[in-house]
Amino acid sequence: MSTTYGYTGKVLRIDLGSGEVWTEDTFKYKDFIGGEGIGYKILWDEVPAGTHPFDPENKITFGAGPLCGTGVPCSGRTTIISLLPTSPHHGAGSSHMGGYFSVEMKYAGYDSIVLEGKSPKPVWIRIEDDKVTIEDARWIWGKGIFDTMAMISSQMGKEAQVAAIGPAGENQLNMSVIRTGTSHSAGGHGGVMGSKNVKAIGIRGTGSVKVADPKAVMELNTLMDQIIGANNQMVAPSHPAPWAEYYSPSSRWTGKPGLFWGAANPPVETGECYPEDVHSIGKRTQKAVFDLGLGAEKYTVRMGGCAHCPIRCHSQLKVPQLEKYGMDPYVSNTCMGYASPRGVMFKGIKEFDGNGEDSSIVGTAIGATLADDLGMWCNYGQIGRDVKWFYEKGVFKRVLPAEEYASIPWHLLEKGDPRFLIDFYNRVAHKQGEIAHIADGAAWIAKRWGLGDDYWDAKENKLWTRGGYPVHHSNESAGQVGALISCFSNRDAQNHTHQNFIGSQLPINIQKDVAAELFGSPDALDAPSKYTRMNEYKARFVKWSLIRGRLHDSLTLCNWMWPMHFSPLKSRNYRGDLSLEAKYMTAVTGEAISPEQLDRNAERIVTLLRALNVRSMATTDLRHAHDAVNKWIVTPDKDKEGKVIPQFTPGTIQMEQADMDLGLGMVYKQFGWDEKTGAPTKSTLLELGLGNVAADLEASGLIPA
């Protein structure tokens, strides 16, 4: 076989029903780049409309891209693609995990792994290079993810990487995760794995990923050293620093003199973290302090993260108080993994023994560990808002059987005792009682529990559309840009392309200058909470963000870092390099590709997802059926006296219906979709090389007139 660069050249296919294992050529999917693109292509070609996510006919793809495993910075992500159980129309979606799984998969020789069918009994999949076996999983079924990983590693060796589900996935909770490493969770698809009776995939690869031009990759890495910032590509520190012209307390670049990984032995000072000093990049983001407050410094052992990432955004803690709760004191997590349990404990957290110091950290760590072990997903924090709403509005009291309601230790929630989390997460993950349906997801629970407009339209519930997913860098992130981005997926948008742009922590004028360079006008970007009406340039910003999001999830690069809009260096005029993805692709694969060509390939993936939605919703009218936002988003705020604050006045981030309608049309136009309905037109599908998609849709009467 001839040498392939970047790609391993093989997709591993496993039919769990028949036990058949085979490989196919990756290059037949090359127009879809890799990772997410290949996953959507497989869903289109092979999973019929109307399939339930838990049906054996559904398929689940673990995808890596051509840059994964090559040493390109922040290229260790895995994109998992399947139908989404939380989606009311069971639309397609991706979930993402970091860690080292996809890199090991590439070293074993596979660009993607596709599972299909259903095993008649619990199994796990053992992959050692080209030796692939389906193993009995009865001895690990029912176990938490931590034990599962340890037990599989005891058989395969500590070098093996494991992706596993917990009881939540086994019990086919819609809101469950697939996890790898200590803290890398892909939310949304745990139940799909559970429905196939697959507990885990253990993988060991002893090969390598070939790179066409290693010298060019090294040179690009040197260029990256001048551009990479801290987590979320924030390029200004959180504090005034002698080397920095700008700073912002919101920055994740928290490393500074006097701030430590306090539980390391000996403690490690993060230090000044000069932007020219490549050796301190991993100390820039003291994420424990960012996520949990200054009190977390003393519990911080170190930062962890994904393969080939110098940033390390997962804090690894030792919280000895956890032993009082019968739990391991070592905890690792990041961002929403920590924020979510705090949301469930909406009355605050206070330790049961009255030792109030660091209660919030202790409670958060308990919740994060439980969710990670049981394999529960929070739907980007929605679970906490739902607990609050259902408790305070009497929904739980109304829908839970009286005996069940009485058995739940609400007094612990009231007191802020984190032992409530132990009870709550276990009930839900083990599907004990009616309360477990909270993990069906908002769209399903609204039907089951008869929740009305008040639930959907409450601002505090943050639900974006009737698709049942919440805000994730939506209208608070660049106004219509974030708001419109949130309309196009079947789950929280998970798009950091625009968020990293506005989150650079640089002054608004610099950001506007770069917006003008990219989108044709500084008006593409408004200052935070000072919004103007929709315009063409914002629509270009939306299109670009959606495209780069799909691109990164296909290459696979971390969209929590990429693209590189900005640099921390004044000598670069704070400019990053937005052609880096294409430059890396060229160097890695040996085939020259321009940023425009690469973006065009990613645009194909955006439109393919759009077509998948047309198919699963069985309508071309996505404007109304899919993209319509909940009322709270387009309802003006009121001031303390009850006076309406009109949209587009400083201080309010509320959107306006007519403006959103206009914005949707502008974005549809940018993509060449039908401006009235938002469905892909036949000509656009053909131009993108999606002729089979056009033909299928046409045959079903799903091409807009």
Binding site: H239, W243, E245, D291, G381, P507, P528, P650, G651, I653
Partner: protein, 179 residues
């Protein structure tokens, strides 16, 4: 090397040393370390004004001048140190607030003044803010609180009250709930 050049080289080394230590170098310190008398003091100032290399920057205060090496310290950081050196707490807080309301724009987290490089004590900070909010010289500076109790200052010249309130709430609460 003539005498003036030698002197300049020595001066540059002292300024560089201070910048490396993340502090400004006051003219008074230069004079002291060069054992200058009052004439020498004036000569040093003149020498720097005439022949200082490009990378040496100066900030002129009420009672002293302050030098720093641009390669080792940004002007933005030097301004913080300069305002601290001038020992006018109200002015330091107000000017920092005005800058941030104008440039980013954002309200300024009061607790930030407790941290490096400011290291203002809580008591001094409280007193300064109380005085500032009642002073005509600082009538544009306003206080705003987020729902978690975090306090921020902003300048009305650059941010209106609703805007400042929204930005403060987001920074203190919203951002943490939406990581």
């Amino acid at each position: 090397m003539n005498e003036a050049e030698a002197r300049l080289s020595r001066i540059a080394a002292i300024i560089q040393e201070a910048s490396e230590e993340k502090r400004l170098c006051p003219l008074s310190e230069l004079a002291g370390r060069l054992n200058d008398n009052s004439q020498g003091f004036a000569d040093t100032k003149a020498l720097l004004a005439e022949s200082a290399p490009e990378e040496i920057k100066v900030m002129r205060g009420k009672a002293d001048d302050y030098y720093f090496m641009e390669a080792l310290m940004t002007e933005a950081y030097a301004i913080h140190l300069f305002r601290l050196a001038e020992r006018n707490l109200l002015r330091l807080i107000a000017e920092t607030t005005r800058d941030e309301s104008r440039i980013y724009p954002r309200p300024t987290l009061l607790a930030g003044f407790l941290q490096q490089p400011f290291l203002i004590s809580q008591k001094d900070l409280n007193n300064a803010v109380d005085k500032m909010l009642g002073s005509r010289d600082y009538s544009d500076i306003k206080l705003v609180s987020a729902s978690n109790g975090d306090k921020f200052l902003y300048s009305e010249k650059h941010l209106n009250p609703n805007h400042a309130q929204a930005l403060a709430e987001w920074a203190a609460v919203g951002e943490k709930e939406n990581p």
